[in-house]
């Protein structure tokens, strides 16, 4: 297995998705494996994202690797005016793998072209966050026993939500039926609608949650952020329409699970947490196994 990068979810073939998900299963069964012994991993976070960084660092430590890096741009050389390209070239001399988070789009792709080391994209602006997508897929597969022919209901900010966009692209290879539930202002962009039509994938768009909940195997919740609305009145009016409460779960399928990329604000009421539909905390734990799988995949260690 040659080493390679994970920059964009669209770089992956269906076989690669399945291979990484199988590896994640292996790591879940046996999380502590010393395969990164003697290896140094750089976590370069040009913007803070504590949750993602800790998940990656936990994955590296469980594999016996060591970590160098920074957690925000102000503590890095870029605050002294060094270009991104120079930082990447320099850090490449110190490690075996680069994990990069950056507020600008396309940074991970550029980094992968500047170094011969594998690069893992931990989020580049509004563009891609492929490890999130793979952990979402792992959670879907684990709770449903399969990826094929599922009904996926995606709720909230479908316009700007990059996790939603990547999930749509990745799951499209598994013949799903999509329900898109969002306020008018935050509807799915045209590009994705065109993509789904071209691939003959059934989808429904609605502003109402109840029916789309009833038919779903997976309900994927996202945050509806105040700053996305031009009119603050619109935000106040719509925000409560997309809050999931325990009472809404009574008429759902027995196998249905609720996912959320976290952190949540108020879009899932805390009374859902104790129900057997809530899966978002396990989903976060799955993130560590999935990242162990991705790290060993790109380094060609498995």
């Amino acid at each position: 297995m040659v080493s390679k990068s994970l920059v964009s979810i669209t770089d992956c073939t269906k076989e690669e998705y399945l291979r990484i998900l199988n590896l994640a299963k292996e790591f879940e069964a046996n999380p502590h494996q010393n395969i990164l012994n003697g290896k140094i991993v750089a976590t370069l976070f040009f913007e803070p994202s504590t949750r993602t960084r800790l998940s990656f660092e936990s994955a590296v430590l469980r594999l016996g690797g060591r970590i160098i890096g920074f957690s925000e741009a102000s503590s890095s050389s870029s605050s002294k005016g060094e270009t991104f390209s120079d930082t990447i070239r320099t850090v490449s001399n110190y490690c075996d793998l680069l994990i990069i988070r950056h507020p600008l789009e396309g940074t991970a792709r550029l980094a992968s072209e500047l170094t011969s080391l594998p690069v893992i994209n931990a989020g580049d602006g509004s563009n891609q966050h492929p490890t999130q997508t793979l952990l979402d897929m792992y959670s879907i597969q684990k709770t449903q026993g399969r990826l094929d022919n599922l009904t996926l209901t995606l709720v909230g900010d479908l316009k700007y939500g990059r996790t939603v966009h990547s999930l749509i692209m990745a799951m499209a290879t598994f013949k799903p039926v999509f329900y898109f539930v969002s306020p008018e202002e935050l509807k799915l962009p045209d590009d994705y609608r065109v993509f789904l039509k071209q691939n003959n994938i059934e989808y429904h768009e609605t502003t109402q949650l109840p029916h789309a909940m009833k038919v779903a195997d997976i309900v994927y919740m996202t945050r509806v952020q105040r700053e996305r609305f031009l009119d603050p009145m619109e935000y106040e009016k719509t925000k409560n329409a997309y809050i999931l409460k325990a009472e809404m779960l009574s008429d759902t399928k027995p196998n249905m699970k609720v996912l959320h990329p976290l952190p949540r604000i108020n879009e899932i009421s805390t009374d859902v947490d104790s129900t057997d539909k809530a899966y978002y905390f396990q989903q976060a734990l799955n993130g560590v196994y999935t990242r162990q799988a991705i790290i060993s995949h790109v380094l060609g260690l498995k």
Binding site: T83, F84, P103, E105, G106, L110, D124, G125, N127, D191
Partner: protein
């Protein structure tokens, strides 16, 4: 001047003729090729000629000047039906209709202000998704730059 076709703009001995330019983009072609800054070459051009294909077309003739691939790719983006003729001693020695390439490197600016290609000193790169109604997917940020947003470097 074999068929006397271009009689409205005088013939050149050596150089390049760019024909079948939509009238409204003639000045844009002049500007992206930096012809307005060429001081030592004779340039003649005309616009608003009748054209069966375009309705109204323009033509530019530049003496003793030949363009490289990058310039021809630039022309293809704003005048997709343009015809380039290379003239040597009053004869057309090479003719081609421009074609938008499958990949575009360095000549278009990405529409996305948050794209790394607009922040680092690197060449922009695009995959051409559609040639008819120009649609370019940025190699870096993966956003689409379309005909109406086209900004040549």
């Amino acid at each position: 001047m074999k068929e006397g076709k271009h009689f409205k703009v005088s013939a050149i001995k050596n150089g390049t003729v760019i024909d079948h330019i939509p009238s409204k983009t003639v000045f844009k072609v002049i500007s992206i090729l930096n012809l307005d800054k060429l001081e030592d070459k004779m340039i003649t051009f005309g616009s608003n000629f009748e054209s069966k294909k375009l309705g109204s077309k323009g033509i530019i003739k530049i003496s003793d000047k030949y363009f490289d691939r990058e310039d021809i790719d630039k022309i293809s983006l704003i005048a997709p039906q343009a015809k380039i003729s290379i003239i040597k001693d009053y004869e057309v020695v090479h003719k081609e209709v421009v074609e938008i390439p499958d990949k575009i490197v360095g000549i278009v600016k990405c529409i996305n202000p948050n794209c790394i290609s607009n922040h680092e000193k690197i060449q922009s790169k695009f995959l051409v998704l559609s040639k008819e109604d120009v649609s370019l997917k940025c190699h870096y940020c993966e956003k689409i730059t379309s005909q109406t947003d086209l900004n040549l470097i």
